[in-house]
C-alpha cells in the first residue's frame, strides 16, 4: 500500500470509530449534565452526578444489582460444575450412546432455552418457582456451549497425563480435579466471561418469570424504570442506563485483552 492509501484508510477508520461511539458519547453527555443541557452542547456546562443519585433513589437499583450478581454467580457456578463433568466424559470416556448424547448437546447450540419461553414457563410454574432468582437460572444450568467448549479443550490434553495419574492410583474424579480442571482453566475463564456478560444482559426470560423487586434483575428493572417511573427525563434515564451497564463496561475497559480473547476463543470452535 502506498503512503496515501494508508493515510486515507486511517482517516476512514477514525471516522467510522467516531460514528460508532457517538450514540454512547451522547448518552454519557446527557447523564453527566443537568437536564437543561440534554440537547444543548455547551462545553462549559457544569458536570454533575445528580442524575445518578436521583435514579438510585427513585428505583430499588441496589436490590436489582444484588439480584443480578446473585443470578450470574449462581448460573456460572452450576454451569462450571455440570458442564466440566459432562465435557470430561465426552472427551475421555467411552460409553454406549455417546454420539447420540453429544448430538443432543449440539442441538442446544441452535435451539436455546431463550426461544422455548412458553413451555419453560409451564415447567417453572409446575415446580412452584415462579418469581424466584433460581427460576431465572434453571434453564441455563446445562450449557451445551460450555460442554462443547470444554470438551474441545480437554481433548487437547495429552493422554500420557491420564496414564501417569492412573498409575499413581488416582480415581476418575481425582484425575479430573488434579489434571483436567487446572489445565482447562483458560477455557473456563473464557466461558466465565461470556456467561456472566450474557446473563447480566439477558432480558426476555427474566421479564416473564419475575414480577417483584426481590427477584428482578437489572435489565428488567431498568426497562421498567425507563418506561414507567421516569416519564421522558432523558438525563435520568441515561444515568440509570449507564449505571446498570457500568460494571461490565468497566470490567471490559480494564480487562480488554481477556475479554476480547475470551469472546474469540468462545466463538471459534
Amino acid at each position: 500500500m502506498t503512503r496515501t492509501d494508508t493515510f486515507l484508510a486511517r482517516v476512514a477508520g477514525w471516522m467510522l470509530a467516531l460514528l460508532w461511539v457517538l450514540p454512547l458519547l451522547y448518552a454519557i453527555w446527557a447523564a453527566f449534565h443537568a437536564p437543561e443541557f440534554e440537547a444543548k452542547f455547551d462545553l462549559t456546562a457544569p458536570l454533575t452526578l445528580h442524575n445518578f443519585s436521583r435514579a438510585w433513589e427513585q428505583a430499588p437499583f441496589a436490590r436489582y444489582f444484588l439480584n443480578t450478581i446473585l443470578l450470574v454467580t449462581m448460573i456460572l457456578s452450576v454451569q462450571l460444575v455440570l458442564c466440566t463433568l459432562a465435557a470430561f466424559a465426552f472427551a475421555r470416556l467411552e460409553f454406549p450412546g455417546k454420539n447420540a448424547a453429544f448430538a443432543l448437546v449440539l442441538v442446544q447450540l441452535m435451539v436455546t432455552p431463550d426461544i422455548l419461553l412458553v413451555e419453560n414457563y409451564k415447567t417453572i410454574r409446575a415446580l412452584g418457582l415462579v418469581d424466584t432468582i433460581v427460576a431465572i437460572g434453571l434453564p441455563y444450568f446445562a450449557s451445551g456451549f460450555a460442554i462443547f467448549l470444554l470438551r474441545q479443550t480437554f481433548m487437547t490434553i495429552p493422554r500420557e497425563l491420564d496414564e501417569a495419574a492412573r498409575v499413581e492410583g488416582c480415581t476418575l474424579l481425582g484425575l479430573l480435579w488434579r489434571v483436567y480442571v487446572p489445565l482447562g482453566k483458560p477455557a473456563m475463564l473464557a466461558f466465565g466471561l461470556v456467561s456472566v456478560s450474557h446473563h447480566w444482559n439477558n432480558f426476555l426470560w427474566p421479564l416473564i418469570i419475575t414480577n417483584s423487586v426481590e427477584t428482578r434483575p437489572l435489565t428488567v428493572g431498568l426497562s421498567l424504570f425507563s418506561t414507567t417511573d421516569s416519564g421522558t427525563d432523558w438525563a435520568l434515564i441515561m444515568a440509570a442506563t449507564l449505571m446498570t451497564s457500568a460494571p461490565l463496561l468497566l470490567g471490559f475497559l480494564l480487562f480488554q485483552r481477556q475479554f476480547v480473547q475470551s469472546f474469540m476463543r468462545a466463538g471459534i470452535k
Binding site: F141, S245, L249
Partner: protein, 289 residues
C-alpha cells in the same frame, strides 16, 4: 468395562437432567401443544389438529412478522458482517491508537441490549436526540424514526447492527492475523495491488470465518428482540413486529399459549434448518488446521 460405562453416565447425568428438562422435552411438548387448544378457565385444552396452524396462515400479524423478520435479516445480516470485516481490516495492523479504535468498535457488544435500546431511543428522540438536532441544523423537519410505521423497523435494525458488528469484528481479526506476512510481502514485490490481494488471497482464506459469522448473524436476526420491547413494542401498527417478539406477545400478553406453541415451532424449524445448513456448508468449505 460395564462399571466404566456406568461412571461415564454418572458424569453426564446432572447436565442431561437440565438439558432434557429445559431444551429437548420443551421442544417435543411445544410440538404436542401446538395441536391442542389453549385451556381457558374451566374449559380444558382439547385436540384441534392443525387448527392453530390454519389460524397462523390466516393471521395477518404473523404474515407481517415473517415479512418483517425477512427484511430485518436482509438488512442486519449483510450490514453487520460487512461492517465487521471493514472494522477488522482497519484495526488488524498495529499503529498508534489502534487499541482505542478497537475499543470504539467493540464497546457496544458488552452493553446490555436493553441499555443499548435506551441509548438509541435517546439518540433518535425527536427534539432531543442528536439526529433530530442535525436535521434541525440543516433545516429538515423533525421526524420520529421509531414512532412512524415507515421507519420503525429500520431504526430497530440499525441498533442490531451497532450491537453486533464489533462482536463479529474480533473473529475476522483473529482470521486476518493467521494470514502469513511473507505472503503479503511476496505479493507486494510481484506488484499485486491491495485490492487484488484481498480478493485473491485474503477473502478465500477468511471464508470459514465469514460462514461462521454469517450463521451467527442469522441466529441473531431471529433471537435479538429485547430492544424491540423497549423501543417500539412491535409497533406502531406491527411495523416492527418480529417473530420471537410476537411469540412473547401471544404467549404472555394474550395468554394464548397453544397458538404461541405453534409459532414457536416455526422458529424452531427455521433455526434447525440454519443449523443443518451450517453443518453441511462447513463440511464442504471449512479447512481446519
Amino acid at each position: 468395562m460395564r462399571r466404566a460405562w456406568g461412571q461415564a453416565w454418572l458424569f453426564i447425568l446432572p447436565a442431561f437432567v437440565f438439558l432434557l428438562a429445559f431444551t429437548h422435552i420443551p421442544v417435543v411438548q411445544t410440538l404436542i401443544d401446538s395441536f391442542w387448544s389453549t385451556a381457558k378457565g374451566r374449559r380444558p385444552a382439547r385436540f384441534v389438529g392443525l387448527e392453530n396452524y390454519a389460524h397462523m396462515m390466516a393471521d395477518p400479524i404473523f404474515a407481517k412478522a415473517m415479512i418483517n423478520s425477512a427484511i430485518y435479516g436482509a438488512i442486519t445480516i449483510p450490514a453487520s458482517v460487512g461492517l465487521s470485516l471493514v472494522m477488522a481490516l482497519f484495526v488488524h495492523r498495529r499503529f498508534r491508537g489502534v487499541g482505542l479504535m478497537r475499543v470504539a468498535f467493540f464497546t457496544p457488544t458488552v452493553l446490555p441490549l436493553i441499555a443499548v435500546a435506551n441509548i438509541w431511543l435517546f439518540f433518535y428522540a425527536p427534539g432531543f436526540g442528536l439526529i433530530a438536532q442535525l436535521r434541525d441544523l440543516v433545516g429538515l423537519a423533525p421526524v420520529n424514526l421509531v414512532g412512524q410505521p415507515a421507519t420503525a423497523l429500520y431504526a430497530v435494525a440499525a441498533v442490531t447492527v451497532w450491537k453486533e458488528a464489533g462482536f463479529f469484528m474480533i473473529f475476522y481479526l483473529a482470521a486476518l492475523q493467521t494470514i502469513p506476512e511473507p505472503l503479503r510481502e511476496a505479493a507486494a514485490i510481484e506488484g499485486c495491488r491491495p485490492w487484488t490481494f484481498f480478493r485473491r488471497v485474503t477473502w478465500p482464506l477468511i471464508m470459514p470465518t465469514t460462514l461462521f459469522v454469517s450463521v451467527n448473524a442469522v441466529i441473531g436476526a431471529f433471537r435479538l428482540v429485547d430492544h424491540v420491547y423497549v423501543m417500539t413494542r412491535g409497533g406502531p401498527d406491527n411495523a416492527s413486529q418480529l417473530l420471537l417478539y410476537y411469540i412473547y406477545e401471544v404467549g404472555f400478553r394474550f395468554w394464548d399459549t397453544a397458538y404461541a406453541s405453534a409459532l414457536t415451532m416455526v422458529l424452531v424449524a427455521i433455526l434447525t434448518v440454519v443449523g443443518i445448513g451450517q453443518f453441511f456448508a462447513a463440511d464442504r468449505k471449512v479447512h481446519y488446521k
